[in-house]
């Protein structure tokens, strides 16, 4: 069959809401788009462990420490689910890691912001995981089978992440005036970067139209961002904090909140490597990877040795 013909059949299959599986024929551009998106999603899960890992040794109680550890361990798991989904498209783990280390692959810009106080751990779980959930719930319906199944698994685990973060924020917001101020400060710093997580406006998003046609993406950046704002405003009110946006206002007619414009200069600046922590995040990842090299080698040598003794 000609490629053109195959492509028509492929699109019909997608339009019928049938999932695409690894061995199915797919346009090269579809495969490429998925490898880019899934690997960057995986990198985000893994790099995202760093800002939270920063507080494990200083968590204020044993309870919060075991919770934070479990949460971060989940994120490592999410990274692995996603790498494994990407590998079904014919890319190797090595290639993906190299792309990250050589800065050819990106990860979510949110993780280039520092976690300065314990309240930031609350803000990250509540807002950053909250925004990720909105995106991932939508991606459960993505057209590529392994990606979709990974998303279903991840979504089951995420709600604990968001609740533990919100619990920290609620707790601090009811504490001393200093603690409440700390919670507000964390909200102030993480609110806008959280909205940026959904990416540029649909009109400015290079990959959006194709991804929608192929049903890799099921809702647009702006639709998802609106969903996140709509559900978060009430949660902010309940704990008595204020969203740092003077233009935030309920729009009766639309049935949605209006909100101010994102500082896109900041977004592109952080994406292109100039955020507060870009260098630190990447060099830490490289260091951890290199420091683990002997473990990988030793385990391999041990496996070889055992195989020999079985054969002997």
């Amino acid at each position: 069959m000609e490629n053109q013909e195959l492509e028509i059949l492929f699109q019909q299959k997608i339009d019928r809401e049938e999932k695409i599986e690894p061995k199915d024929w797919m346009p090269e551009a579809y495969r490429k788009h998925l490898i880019r998106q899934i690997s960057q999603h995986a990198h985000s899960e893994v790099i995202g462990m760093q800002p939270e890992g920063n507080w494990i040794t200083r968590a204020p109680s044993l309870r919060s420490k075991v919770v934070l550890l479990a949460k971060i361990q989940d994120e490592a798991g999410h990274g692995l689910y996603l790498y494994s989904a990407a590998e079904t498209l014919g890319v190797t783990r090595d290639e993906m890691l190299n792309a990250l280390h050589e800065e050819r692959a990106k990860y979510s810009s949110i993780f280039n912001y520092p976690t300065l106080t314990w309240a930031d751990i609350g803000a990250v779980g509540w807002l950053v995981d909250g925004a990720a959930i909105v995106n991932q719930v939508s991606l459960q319906r993505t057209s590529y089978g392994p990606y979709s199944r990974g998303m279903v698994r991840i979504c089951k685990e995420e709600s604990f992440h968001q609740r533990q973060g919100y619990e920290i924020m609620a707790h601090m917001a009811q504490g001393t005036p200093e603690q409440k101020a700390m919670a507000q400060d964390a909200l102030n710093r993480f609110w806008w970067p959280s909205l940026m997580m959904f990416g540029p406006h649909d009109s400015d998003s290079a990959h959006s139209a194709k991804a929608m046609r192929w049903k890799i993406k099921r809702e647009t950046n702006d639709e998802l961002r609106q969903k996140f704002v709509d559900k978060t405003v009430q949660q902010v009110e309940v704990i008595g904090l204020t969203i740092p946006d003077p233009e935030l206002k309920w729009n009766e007619e639309k049935g949605h909140y209006d909100f101010g414009e994102i500082n896109w200069d900041e977004f592109y600046n952080v994406i292109s490597g100039n955020g507060p922590c870009n260098k630190q995040r990447l060099s830490h990842h490289k260091k951890a990877h290199d420091n683990g090299a002997w473990v990988r080698e030793a385990a391999e040598a041990y496996a070889r040795k055992k195989q020999k003794s079985v054969a002997a």
């Binding site: 061995k23 190797t92 090595d94 290639e95 050589e102 990988r296 391999e300 041990y302």
Partner: protein, 97 residues
């Protein structure tokens, strides 16, 4: 590729969520041998007691049908409606059959 940095062979992971139920594919892990493949599969795919039992299989050892041949491959079953109970005409009034 930068330096040679083996990520170990790939294993497919199958999990039985409860005794009596069939094993279901969960995803894959990298591991140097079968013991570590099992341990990695446990850590990655059953952090919330999602399983009572795990199988790991080297991905290379899995043989899969080709989706391009799907029609021809499954064709033999298509004209054998007599394999289904609805094919048979039961006498009027017969019960529990």
């Amino acid at each position: 590729m930068s330096k040679q940095d083996n990520q170990w062979p790939l294993w497919e992971v199958f999990i039985q969520s409860k005794t009596g139920l069939p094993y279901k594919h969960a995803g894959s892990v990298h591991a140097p041998d079968k013991e570590m493949a099992l341990q990695n599969a446990r850590d990655v795919y059953t952090r919330r007691s999602e399983g009572t039992s795990i199988w790991v299989v080297l991905s290379d050892n899995i043989v899969a049908s080709n989706p391009d041949d799907q029609e021809a491959f499954f064709d033999p079953a298509n004209d054998k409606v007599y394999r289904h109970p609805t094919f048979y005409v039961m006498p009027e009034g017969a019960k529990h059959i």
